[in-house]
């Protein structure tokens, strides 16, 4: 409280009746009154990600509005290109890279206003980007699911692209948290995606038919099993966690 030019300045150390530090008292009151109470999603994410900072980054992803809009457009755009067009394996394999670049750009130096500051913080900016990718895909998958009720094309997009990508990103993030390295996570995600595409090809040729083709659920199950294994590994009791 060092700017007394404002008329309503709070008490400072100068007002200390009998040695009582009113500044310290107010800081304690303000801490409780101004405190933000994280929602259930954020609290769970903080446990899963082992980092309240990453959880906050995840949950605040949609409230950074411009980056959110840009990355959503990229995700839907790439998704439409791949899932509604011919099912060529190479296109499918490249698609996540394109989407990832789009999300990285949306939340990166180009558009995120506090990018420079974020990249000087202890929580790795690559981890934050991975977290944001999960948030973008997960939320878009939910939107896609809702739209699937009305539209077959939306269903193809959601089941053929959004949901698998959400699973892959979640897997990548889980691996990154467990290994404490975004690079390991990305490698895990890429491998999982390649396996999914190739398995989908082997199971039924056209990837977009995966909704009805029971065989194609195998890769999804495999990915889900891996995620569950990694998450339970990550949640094992550990000393010295905050």
């Amino acid at each position: 409280m060092i700017f007394p030019n404002e008329p309503d300045r709070p008490p400072s150390a100068q007002d200390s009746p009998g040695g009582v530090d009113l500044g310290r008292v107010w800081a304690g009151v303000a801490a409780e009154v101004w405190r933000r109470h994280p929602g259930q999603v954020e609290r769970t994410a903080a446990r899963l990600l082992r980092s309240p900072g990453l959880a906050r980054a995840l949950v605040s992803t949609p409230s950074l509005l411009l980056p959110w809009l840009v990355s959503t457009v990229v995700v839907f755009g790439v998704g439409a290109l791949v899932s509604l067009g011919p099912g060529q394996p190479l296109v499918w394999l490249m698609a996540p890279a394109v989407a990832a670049v789009g999300i990285a750009f949306a939340y990166g130096p180009g558009i995120d206003p506090a990018w420079e500051l974020s990249s000087s913080c202890a929580v790795s900016d690559r981890m934050v980007l991975l977290t944001r990718a999960v948030a973008v895909f997960a939320l878009n998958a939910v939107l896609g699911l809702l739209a699937s009720v009305a539209s077959g094309a939306a269903a193809a997009l959601t089941f053929g692209w959004l949901i698998p990508m959400t699973a892959v990103c979640a897997l990548a993030l889980a691996a990154a948290v467990a290994a404490r390295s975004a690079v390991v996570g990305a490698a895990a995600g890429v491998s999982a995606w390649v396996i999914t595409v190739l398995a989908g090809q082997a199971a039924g040729g056209q990837f977009t038919s995966s909704v009805t083709n029971a065989h194609a659920y195998l890769p999804y199950l495999a990915v889900a099993a891996c995620c569950a294994a990694i998450v339970s590994y990550a949640l094992r009791p550990e000393r010295g966690l905050q």
């Binding site: 709070p10 409780e32 101004w34 933000r36 500051l117």
Partner: protein, 247 residues
Amino acid sequence: MNVALTEIHRSFGKNKAVDDVSLELGTGVFGLLGPNGAGKTSLLRMLATVLPPTSGKIRLLDRDPRRPAARREIRQRLGYLPQNLGYYPSFTVVEFVEYFALLKQMPSSAVPKAVAQAVERLDLGAKAKARLRTLSGGMLRRVGIAQAIVNDPDLLLLDEPTAGLDPEQRVQLRALMRSLGESATVIVSTHLVEDVGAACSEVALMSAGKIVFRGTSADLTARGEGHGVGDAPLERGYSAVLAEARS
């Protein structure tokens, strides 16, 4: 020594932004002066571990920032105010400061009190729950300084902190820096010479990527005797040293 730079170079293509800089700093307030383009911001970015040097050795808080684990430890004890800090318009003051407190991996239980103290220290208490889009430029700058000090850093880097502040607020900011400088290394980069005089125990002047002067403000003033352009003694010293460096 909190900061030890040895023969640091940083180039962007053909442009030498930082040219053979060596620096050792302990606690105290250290001013980095120079015209725009002198390399101050690049130097600060390297100290903030945002930019690696092209060559040379950096040691911050007794650690090597090239190693990921050490870099994380440095960043937990670091406070940084970039020259152009953007804001998340929908965040409130408290949310913004808290967000970076969390990204700096402060223990969650300590965060609310640290945020409250940082906000009050920058006299933003009356605006604590106001959204950033409603604040003036000077207030936004103070929000930026608040997030830089929230984790009680050992190394505080402020790039043009006084932008948008009125004279009285600048006086108070200098008092804040002096108080922080008692236990931390505070480096202030500014092109406003008068920001330096009262607050900094030591000053360096950069020109074209090199450090062309290092000493106290009194030393800088002395260099201006009889030479130089400027209304105030420190300004005359500043322009005298720059003129010499350019010749």
